[in-house]
Every structure is written in C-alpha cells, then in structure tokens.
Assembly symmetry: C2
Homo-oligomer: 525 residues x 2
Amino acid sequence: MTLTGNMLIGQQAITGHREAIRAINPATDLPLEPAYLGGSGEHVEQACTLAWTAFDRYRETSLATRADFLETIAIEIEALGDELIDRAVAETGLPRARIQGERGRTCQQLRTFARTVRAGEWLDVRVDSALPERQPLPRADLRQRQVALGPVAVFGASNFPLAFSVAGGDTASALAAGCPVVVKAHSAHPGTSELVGQAVARAVKKSALPEGVFSLLFGSGREVGIALVSDPRIKAVGFTGSRSGGMALIKAAQSRPEPIPVYAEMSSINPVLLFPAALASRGEALAQGFVASLTQGAGQFCTNPGLVIAHQGPALDAFIKATAALVQRSPAQTMLTPGIFSAYENGVGSLVEHPHAQTLAVGLQGETPNQCQAHLFVTQAGDFLTNAALQAEMFGAASLIVQCASDDEIRKVTEHLEGQLTATLHLDDADMPSARALLPVLERKSGRLLVNGWPTGVEVCDAMVHGGPFPATSDARTTSVGTAAIQRFLRPVCYQDFPDSLLPAALRHGNPLQLRRLLDGQREA
Amino acid sequence: MTLTGNMLIGQQAITGHREAIRAINPATDLPLEPAYLGGSGEHVEQACTLAWTAFDRYRETSLATRADFLETIAIEIEALGDELIDRAVAETGLPRARIQGERGRTCQQLRTFARTVRAGEWLDVRVDSALPERQPLPRADLRQRQVALGPVAVFGASNFPLAFSVAGGDTASALAAGCPVVVKAHSAHPGTSELVGQAVARAVKKSALPEGVFSLLFGSGREVGIALVSDPRIKAVGFTGSRSGGMALIKAAQSRPEPIPVYAEMSSINPVLLFPAALASRGEALAQGFVASLTQGAGQFCTNPGLVIAHQGPALDAFIKATAALVQRSPAQTMLTPGIFSAYENGVGSLVEHPHAQTLAVGLQGETPNQCQAHLFVTQAGDFLTNAALQAEMFGAASLIVQCASDDEIRKVTEHLEGQLTATLHLDDADMPSARALLPVLERKSGRLLVNGWPTGVEVCDAMVHGGPFPATSDARTTSVGTAAIQRFLRPVCYQDFPDSLLPAALRHGNPLQLRRLLDGQREA
C-alpha cells in the first residue's frame, strides 16, 4: 500500500487542484508526505452524482448484503495492518496503544451495525390490516417501514482519526441505514483517511455494490464542506467537531431550498457533581479518578470532565488539594494538531486571566512541540452564574471547579448549564436524596448520566447515548454512538393497499424477513 | 357551557388586551359572538412559566395516569355535546356530519394514544448489562429510555377544527410523550377552540395534574405565535398550515439561542399517476373516484389530489372528458374562511391566466359567500417541467392534469416534483412493470404511497405516515398522524451504573413495567 495523495470518487483516484493539505506530525511539527491537493466544487459534484446514482440500488440491497459489506469494511481495515497504525500515530501524536484500541473499536462498531442491520428492528415494520367491513368506513391495508434518507455527508473528526472519521460511527450508521456516504476528510489526518478510504472502496468493490456508495474528498471546509452540505442530492449530514464548525454547516443546511438534518456533535463540558458524603468518604480516590479522566488522551475527548460542581467546605478543600497535586505532577502530552494546541492555550489563557477564576494547578511543561499542560481552575457559584465565559469548552486537559455554598446554589448552577453530552454524579448512600432531587435537571441537560464513574470512554452498544441538548449536539433526539444512531438516517413510508408483488420484502404478507412486526396493534413474537 | 372569549392559562380564564379576534360564519360572512381579545407576550410568558413548572412532574407520571388523562380528555370533549358541533359548523361552514365524524376521529385518536402510552414500546428501553470481567476493559451497566423533550407549542390548523386543532394529533401525541402543551388557537375557530380547551382543562383538573400541562392562547401569529416559538422553555413546535406560515415558525425556531425542532406540515399537491391499462379499462370509474376525492370538503385537505400524471392518448382524453363533465356539475361549497376563499380564487386565477395551463372545467357557481368552484386544468409535461408555478399548491378543489408523451416524460415529471404527503398509483396487472420502475422515485418523494385508492382520508393507526419530504413537511423523519407521531417529542437518555433505587421505573432491574426491552442485544418476549 502506498499513499497517493488522491481523493477517492467512487472507485477512481482523483487528484485535487486546490491548495495542498499536508499532515503535520504534532510531536515534531514536521510535515508528512504526501501532499493532498484539495478538491473543489467540481469534485463534490462528481461524488454526489455517483452517490445519487447508487442510492436507489444500495438502499434496497438485502439486509444480508449490507451487513456483509459492513463486515468486509472491518476486515479490509484490519488488513491495513501496521501501516495504518503507524500513519495514525504520526498524524495525531496519540499513543500507539490508543490507536490500536481505536482500530478495534472502529471495526467492532462496523460489526455491531452489521448485527443491527441483520436483526431488522430498525425497519420498524407496522401493519394495520384492511377492515373492508368496518362501519362507517372501511379501513385500507396500511404498512409502514423505514427507508434511507439519501446520500449522507460525513465530516471526519480530529480527535478520533478512526472511530469518528472516514469509517467511523457516522459512516457506519449511514451505510447501515442504506445511505451512500461522501466523506470530507479531516485535514489533520489525510493519510489515515486515505488508507481507510481505500479499505472502504475495496469493500465496495468486493461486495459488488455500485461505486457511488462511498467517496472520500479532501479540501477546505469553506469550499468543499459547504458545497457538500449544499448539494441537493445530499440528504443529511454527520459532523463531530467545534461549535463554530457545526453551526456553519447547520446554517448551510438550513439555507438550502430543501433544508436537511444536520447531526452535529459540538460542545460539552460534562459536569461532574461530587456529593458531600462521597466527597468526605473517598475524596482522595475521587481526585485520582478525576485527574485520570481529565488528562487521558490530553483531554481531547468530547466527554472530558471540564466542570466539577460541589459544596464548599473541608471535604472539597481536601479534594482540591489532592487534585491540584496530581495535576501538577501530570506529564505534558502532545495534542492532535498545532491548531488544537493553540486553541487550548488561548482557552486556558483566558481563564488564567479571568478575574473570577483562580488557577489552582498547572501540569508539567512539555519539551516537544504542541504539548498540553493540564490546568485546574476554581470559581464560586455566584461568579459562574454571571459569567458565561466560564462555561465555554476548553478542548484539552482543563477543568473548572465550581464551589457552591448550598444545595440551592448547586441546583442553580446545574440549571444554568447549557446542554451536555454527559453529567456525572459521585454519591454515597447518604447522598441519595440530594442526587434524586437533582436528577430531573440533569436529565433535561444531558444525554448520558453516570453514577460513580467517569464520562470518558463511550461504549458502542444498544443503550449508549452520545448526544444531548444543544449545544452538545444540534439534535437531542438522537445519538451518534451506539446502534440507535442508525435512526438518524431513516424516514417512514406508508404503503396503502399495495399488491403483495409491489411491496418491499419487509412488508409482504408472508413476512419473508421474519421481522417482529407491530401487527394490528400487537407485537409479533 | 357558555363561551367566554377568554384564554386559558392553566386553570385560569384570562382576557386578552390586543385586537379582538372574531369568528366569521363563512356561509353568511357574519361575525359570531363572543369576541376573543388577543393575547400578548405577557400571556405567552405566563403560559410557558406554568408549562415549565409542570414539566418535570408531568413527564414522570405513570403510564396509566397519562393514558387515563388522554381518555378523560376524550370523555370531556364528547360531553360538550351538540354545542361543540353547532359552533364548529358555524365557524367553518363544514357539514354537520363531517364535524361529527371529526369529533369521533379526534376522540379515537386520544384513545389510541392512551393505548400507545400504556403499551410503553415508545420508551424504547435498551439495557446492556455490566461486564465487569471483560478484557481489556470492563463494560458498565448501560440503560436507555426515551424522555419527553419539554413543553410543546401547538398551532391549530384551519381545516380540521377538531382533529388538527386544540386537542388534535399534535396535542395528543405531545401529551402522550409527557410534554405540557401550549396551544395557539387558529383565529378562524376561536369558539370551537375555547370549548375544546375547557374540556382539556377539566381533564387536567380531574386527573389531578399540574395546571401548566395545558394552556390555550388566542392572538396574532406575528406576536403570540413568534413569542411562543421563541420562548426558551418551549422545546418543540407542531404546526399544520401554509408554507409561508410554517417557514416563519421554522425561522424563529432556528434563530433561538437554543434551536428547537419544528414539525410543520405545509404544502403538498399529492400526485396521482394513472397508468395506461387502468386508464383504458376503467377510465370512467377513475374519473368518478377522482372528482369525489378532489371536491370532498371543498378540497380543503392536505392530501387533496392536486396533480394527475398520465400518458396522453385516447384513454386519457376519455378520462379528461368524463372528469370535466363531473367537475362542471359539481356544486359550489362553502370554504373555511373568507381568507382561504380569497387565496383559492387567486390561486386558480393565476392558473386560468397561465399561458401553459388550459382550463378544462369549472364547477357550479355559488350563491352564498365564500363558495369554492371546482377547477380542472391541463398542461403538457414539457411546460410543467419548466414552469415552477404549475407546481404550487392551490388549497381547495382544483387540480392540474399533466399529459406526458412517454414513460420517460412521466419519470421526469415525477422526479421534478417537490416532496409530497402522498403519491397515488392507479394500475392494472399490465401496468405493474411501469409502476415498479417508478416506485423508487415515489418513495423518495412521498410519505405515503397508495395503490388504486384516493389520498383523502388519513387513517389514525400504527402504520400511517402523514408526513413526507420538504416542503410537504419540515421533517421527513416523522409523521403527524398515527401512533408513531409520539416519537417527535422524545429524546433518548442513557443511565450508566445507576443504583436501582435511582433508576426510573422503566429501567429497573426487575422490569416492573414489564416492557419488552432490548436486553444485551436480544428482544425480550
């Protein structure tokens, strides 16, 4: 396998003609070969034409064909071997073990969606049989299934070069739903993207699917990204990234003659509530768990615990002291890109200078480029409530502790939060009543609630919610991780009085797919 | 029962202080008492405050409590007796039997949602059990359920004063989901709205629910409507009405600091495709069925068949001749409001004058105010493809026949359509191959596909889809009729490692609600 610097438009390798994108090894600040010449609107047009051509056929492939295809992608990614790992490490500065783990997660995710596709519950088949004798009016035969929305634009994320990128969760769930995918690669890891893109394209070919099922573009967000979201053949968008980036795509999607849904996962500070009894009984352990979660992967997780809320007093003082000591000893870690490092420096810089935030601890200084020093800040509830800037996400290993004088202040601070991906409660038995009283607020604010755990680490499973109210995401009704993510790319269609031979297989009278239908109000066994 | 001219903010009758809204009997053009003084932003504020206060308690009521509440609303509406029927007839000009039928449908809809709430499938409970021994990392206990989005703003529609209004499908499905509702009444039927609003408020009281679960406001769309959609405590919007009205609400919802979903059902011309063998074998019967569907209720249905697509030739000529004769004999019918009549007149007027549309037939002239004369037009495929105005909805009993020279032209016309609520195919066995070839296009364009039926008449059941791609609705992923409509007002929340005592009942280990959960990847029996 050799990296070519080309885009993939269906099965064709295409060279761009805009400014070159070059990965930079953040650990050395040195550029990596090859250069990826950016694509333009012309390439968006080609990729969308192919995707549109492929759509009607791909969305009606059998469940088995589509599941096999997802598994073939996983096999092809695994077959990339160390070349993929080496390149992803070089492009991201992430530790090798982390990238290996992420590859495993990415392939498991594809296989999980294969299982979901085969089970067919996502078709949500509903049948209301004809009642020709009903008075005063007969009832027609009505049958509903879910169909694919259309070609989907996926934007790779910087912080998961495999699991939230070219063949990540958005791509896997869109392909599972029957939607062709056009990926706009993240410019920070073009080589990783090309390798994975080639693996997907090989799987398309081996599965004898129309080539337009998958394309991979490089280029600027402003040109290629906006053109992609604006193309009339694109029917939904998946994005994980910054609030400003997500909002730009949402605006473009809403400005189309036909607006389309954007699933943007954007900004979350993931509050952690430390309840008094837990804090008193195991403050030291909490400090260790917290700092481990905070500094993991240089804090570059959407679910990084960026906010701690607790009652002021000796127990919190002890926690703060222990946490500060751990943060001070925490090694600097290479961040994903020079741009992310610089944004982190700006973010913590604003807080260092903020009159209502006090710097408690700073981690060890780095010795190589782009290294994140962990930061710990503290503020008072009253200041948090009146300074919106204290609620801004700092992407990296930085967190703010909000000291509250009363249960009432804790409630006010919690109510004041914007929408979140997660909210975490650390509690002992004696804290149950206080926790129970806050739960309704936390449910309104967050997609996932955790007890006595840490928010980093997002399991790919049926019950996961990686989502939440705005601005955590642009659409709280969904999740971008876990099998429920397939529902983002579906819409219902009802078939009235269709002859059996015209019905799709899922809806035929003999139920050839053996689905558990909702038949005349009853769920089939 | 006496009409008071008041709004209902929770259990309080409140008099507005803006310009008076007065229903007009469209059959006489005479105003009806009482006057309804319009509300203002102040009333929106009060209603939303109450709704917000009620939300946390209402959304956690038991399934039985909520189902009983929906059934109590139905009982209270039925108890209004003839006063409701008389008033609705006077305010809409609709025939008495139609209003009686609509009352039955409205109450059945409430009872259907009660059944849906009790069954609990909408909670979509997913459990992934803890795997403490898993390598390399243990898995937490993860449990997902659906929770209510928050208070919902519902805008009553003009054309269904009961079934799509104060206690119509949007309200029923939002209440079923656990969302308090603030209704902005349609100004065309304030008395009907007040009566139904009082019935709902009585049901709230009898069910011992917090009063903020339901409020009813009168007032201008520009002031009260926009204020309601902009209130930070409103978390979703249901609307049925015009494209311009829906787009204004969508714009307001997207401009909020926290954007919210708008379910707007707006504009559809509901194409009917007449295939050659069907047209040849039963053109006369098709003409009768078509004109009956077209003129039913003065054509004031979202699913009115406003477009016919067929091969030109002798069979179509015969159909056109028969249809024109029926239209010419069709009696004028009173429209819902002077405004709707005037818009209809303008719409058919533009088509009468359009150089590429030919007027085939005009129905009988009316003798009382606001009477709709049916209109039938014809055009050629080439003209339809190049004149966007020919695709505009004319709300009323008007339809346009598009003559096509070939299968290819039929396909092009179909591909050229905007999103639709319905698409209808009339076919015989010999038409199957042509119909099958067009199905993928129609699936992409429509929420409901019918064979050998007529699109008017929307069954309230599990399998119904009353929805479709833009501009038929603003969100093709949903339906506004049928039990799946509850999903519009829900979002998933995941609970990680929660002690059983903190979990909501739906997620507890003992499964006390006896739900069919998705447990470790398997559906429970």
